[in-house]
Amino acid sequence: MSGSSAPPAEPHLADAICRETRRKFLLVGGQAVLGATLFPTLRLRAQTVQAGLNAVKPAFGAGSLTEALRLLDADPIPSDDILLTVPDFVENGAMVPVEVSSRFPGVQEIYILSESNPFPLVARFSVPEDTEAFVSVRIKVASSCNIHALVHSEGRFFSAVKATTVSVGGCGA
């Protein structure tokens, strides 16, 4: 039933991206520009990874939350009608339970995003009419950050945010 023996389609550039992301947090303003100039190779490698993913599923290749939302063409309205359940504190970032449900009628899609991840878009669920707008999944979270739930209902996007504190990041897991 399975034939998963092919080599990975993408090179192992993840470390470069991880470092790149961390540097973005550390550097500000002109320093960030300087950093990018000093490490052109890393930047180039990160771009190559993104280009590879972009060909298939654009938003999954986005390197930031803003970029992911732009690629989804979503300008979400914050809403209390989305129930997002994430633990306040988790020890292991490699297994963080996330639950999303919503009271909106005609929910078509549910997205889960983790702000600190190298690629923030974690999962997308396409919800047909006879399925309830509810999904539960366990995700990896790189470091303490906001988890976002995005609900696509009748052509509009709604969002809910919840912060979670992670003691051991799930980046290397």
Binding site: S2, D15, F60, D130, T131, F134, R138, C171, A173
Partner: protein, 106 residues
């Protein structure tokens, strides 16, 4: 070959609760092995869940879904003995399809 998909579907409160566990390493590509070399990214990208010939959930996953993805969701309706089929595809082109049936309410 990856282990079979564990499927638990049961009629409950007028709907059906569906739990799906898909054994898979879900490697991010960020992790290094003992020798310091990167372990290639290997993760499920697409999941399709079909009940009695009707697609009830399509999931697109990234490397950031935890190892051995566990999904839990609910459908409206559903009857005992309805067939349920779960299939996944990973980024190496690997795939797995497993079937089960919905159990009656307890």
């Amino acid at each position: 070959m990856p282990d079979s998909i564990r499927i638990r579907a049961q009629v409950k409160n007028g709907g059906t609760d569906i739990h799906v566990l898909m054994p898979h390493p879900m490697e991010t590509g960020f992790k290094k092995d003992a020798a310091g070399a990167f372990i290639p990214a290997h993760y499920i990208t697409d999941v399709d869940i079909v009940v009695a010939g009707r697609t009830v959930l399509k999931a697109t996953l990234s490397r950031a879904v935890a190892e051995d993805p566990l999904l839990f969701f609910r459908i409206k309706g559903g009857h005992a003995d309805d067939p349920i089929q779960v299939s996944w595809v990973d980024n190496w082109g690997g795939r797995r399809v497993d079937e089960s049936v919905i159990k009656a309410a307890v």
